[in-house]
Amino acid sequence: MISTEQLYQTLQQRFGFSRFRPGQLEALTALTAKHNTLAVLPTGAGKTLIYELYGAITQQLVLIVSPLISLMQDQVTTLNVKGEKRAAALTSMMTYSEKNWILRHLHEYHFIFISPEMLSQDQVLSAFQSTQIGLLVVDEAHCISTWGPDFRPEYLLLGQIRHQLHDPLTLMATATATERVREDIKQKLQLPQATEIVQPVDRQNIFLSVERFEAQTDKEERLVELVAKLKKPGVVYFSSKKKANEMAELLAAKTDCKVAAYHADLDSETRFKVQQQFMQDQLDVICATSAFGMGIDKNNVRFVIHYHVPSDVESYWQEIGRAGRDGQQSVAILLYQAGDEQIAAFLSEETVPQENEIHYYFQQNAPQVAGDEKANLIWFYKQHGYSEAQVQNSFASRREQRVTALRKMMGYVRTPDCKRQYIQQYFDQVQDVATNPEHCCSSDEAQLDFGVLGLLATATPAQSDQSSAEWPAILKQLFNF
């Protein structure tokens, strides 16, 4: 049995911290007592540390099921940077022989990241069956829940796969989950008895603001004004790549700030550069789609602005969670223009196949076009023995859920009451109003001067010493001459 003292020791030695963040010690204590655990910790609370420390202390293989390839690679890199070289991501980007090499050398690794699709392949599964797994981590566990906004059908197989892996100790981790989603996660993973560690999702240091506009030009002007006057760095979220690009140009032209766009269309070199410029305070503002954020660990983001309405409260909360990780005062501002919810409704509905599409794909064999997500989705169900009627039903209720989810999001936008309370209610974590921060939300203080929060820009924008340098200076700096 691992003692609390050992946990603290490892925390100090490996991570250089003397204190755990809320929820981390509780989750580790449950795991070391061999309890399967569902940890709901807000974004930035350090979920990764839990399994990293567990792996370090037990010296056993930690297998992390994760939904996004880009995220997995980031996670491996982060571990590498911290000095953990025995980490790898098994992804579809690898060639057959690379994958095989890792599968044959599983015992040499401490951390392996894998997608549920990859893990369900026979060859991969059988490799893991003959290895001792110290801890199975289901990251972004809300993806397993049909009630979660990022539902992925392959996650449904995980309950079964877990048995095939001889029921290893399991950590389910997610940032935001309502009570219903938590129940659903446990049920789908067939772990009804799992210990729950739930931390309040509320972030007291983020002032919550919603502003309404009648015309798009007003909204754009306001965005320019906010970006110019607010303390940086900040992130502005958009629901389209095109708009993110356009506004990045506009903001660069109309303010003194260094601005860059960030989305899935960028090549990996550009993405790396934008990320690192931002991390090293050489960029003031990032205009992003939801692709940005995963794996970015920047503590001093002072504002998160949403130019479009997200399609559910979970996504919104996850995204504004990038603000104020250092605990300092920050602000989340949602710019709403009447009719914006139609864009959100369209985007939200677009991902769920319609009746006629389901029918069409059900008649087809294996997907013809690589990357046809809807075809793949239907194919998944067909392959796993679902009838068309079952699939029709389940997508019909899924569409309904998406509509409800957006309605809840719009509830947040429209409520004249406390925004913070609205969120607490949504996540079934109602707190006494007396615990609210002094400056809470725009429902109380619609015309709040951001100066009161200490959020007005004072310093000059990020230094752009990079661009002014000539090549001889750049070379001297690069190679320390």
Binding site: T77, V81, K82, S268, F272, Q280, W471, L478, F479, F481
Partner: protein
């Protein structure tokens, strides 16, 4: 691809096939694409923009049309008089690539990823820093650079790289040296994105990318000639042949004297495929590396030429000779031969 870039590929004197221009950029190696790509002097652009979509292409055409710079008939486009003037301006005022051809024999994209990552690794080594975020590259590139670093890390890479880049930049015009140096990544230097550099140099992103690719091609050439083994090693395994692997195999058998029928049987290929392979090789390779006479006997050439002489090459029609004992592919081969003899600029 934008409208300006498209103008580069068009001509004021004859209509050009938009699908050929598109297919060359996307990198389709069909004989007809390659043939016309050769005629348009566009072969060095083969596969330059693999992700080019029809939508983007159509938009570029549409823009030129609205500005009155091209006329389009079906899917052929020709520059108008005003278009020709604009094209001249473009050729004078924007970056003109010189080295794209090397792309056909070297995987320059992977080369750049390796060089960029190696530069970062050496830069961090110069500061004895081991904890940093490496550039995100493909698994293969990462492994290669890891092995490379293990092999050479004791070889004073700091000085080698400093001198290498110094030589490169000193030989370039200063704006190009400055442009490229800003793309580099290293210790406490995340590097500028292409967009950021293009903004500061007041170029379109399309033009900036062209300049970047051309500079990388130039670098690849330099590195292949570099005396230093550590720098040189970054090119290992990135050479490929001008013709596709399968066509190359056909070509070797052909040049060894085997008949087309024998090649077809041995390789279980259709005869038409064997012919296409040979045409591809003829288009891509220098004149002297293909044995034209084995297919085009002097008598046949004389017969064909008696009909075709006096017509510009691009107006030759198979119809003019189809009653002669000649197949279309032989006719095409003669076209290739003529094209190469007249101007072998590609």
């Amino acid at each position: 691809m934008d409208a300006t870039q498209l103008m580069r590929f068009l001509s004021p004197t004859s209509p050009r096939r938009l699908r050929v221009i598109e297919n060359i950029l996307v990198g389709k190696r069909t004989v007809s694409t390659l043939y016309w790509g050769m005629r348009y002097h566009q072969l060095s652009w083969l596969g330059y923009e693999k992700k080019l979509s029809r939508e983007v292409m159509d938009q570029a055409v549409h823009n030129l049309q609205t500005e009155g710079l091209v006329t389009v008939e079906q899917t052929n486009a020709q520059l108008t008089q005003q278009g020709a003037v604009e094209q001249q301006k473009l050729l004078q005022n924007s970056y003109q690539p010189q080295h794209l051809k090397i792309r056909l024999v070297v995987d320059v994209e992977t080369f750049w990823q390796r060089l960029l990552l190696a530069t970062q690794v050496v830069s961090e080594q110069s500061y004895q820093n081991r904890q940093y975020y490496p550039l995100q590259t493909s698994w293969q590139v990462k492994q290669t650079v890891k092995r490379w670093f293990r092999q050479f890390h004791g070889a004073d890479l700091q000085t080698v790289f400093y001198n290498f880049w110094q030589d490169v930049f000193a030989d370039l015009p200063s704006d190009q040296a400055s442009f490229m140096s800003r793309l580099l990544v290293g210790h406490e230097r995340p590097g500028d994105t292409l967009q950021q550099v293009s903004r500061d140099f007041q170029m379109s992103e399309t033009e900036a990318r062209l300049m970047e690719v051309d500079l990388i091609c130039q670098l690849a050439k330099l590195v292949s000639q570099a005396a230093n083994s550590s720098i040189n090693a970054l090119l290992a395994g990135l050479n490929h042949s001008l013709v596709s692997a399968s066509a190359n195999q056909t070509l070797r058998s052909f040049m060894a004297g085997e008949s087309l029928e024998v090649i077809s049987r041995k390789r279980s290929l259709k005869l038409s495929t064997v012919r296409e392979h040979l045409l591809e090789a003829a288009i891509m390779l220098p004149l002297e590396q293909f044995d034209y006479q084995r297919i085009l006997t002097p008598e046949l050439v004389a017969q064909l030429e008696s009909r075709l002489n006096g017509f510009p090459l691009d107006e030759w029609q198979f119809k003019q000779v189809e009653d002669l004992p000649v197949d279309f592919w032989q006719f095409r081969l003669l076209e290739i031969l003529r094209s190469k003899k007249a101007d072998d600029k590609h």
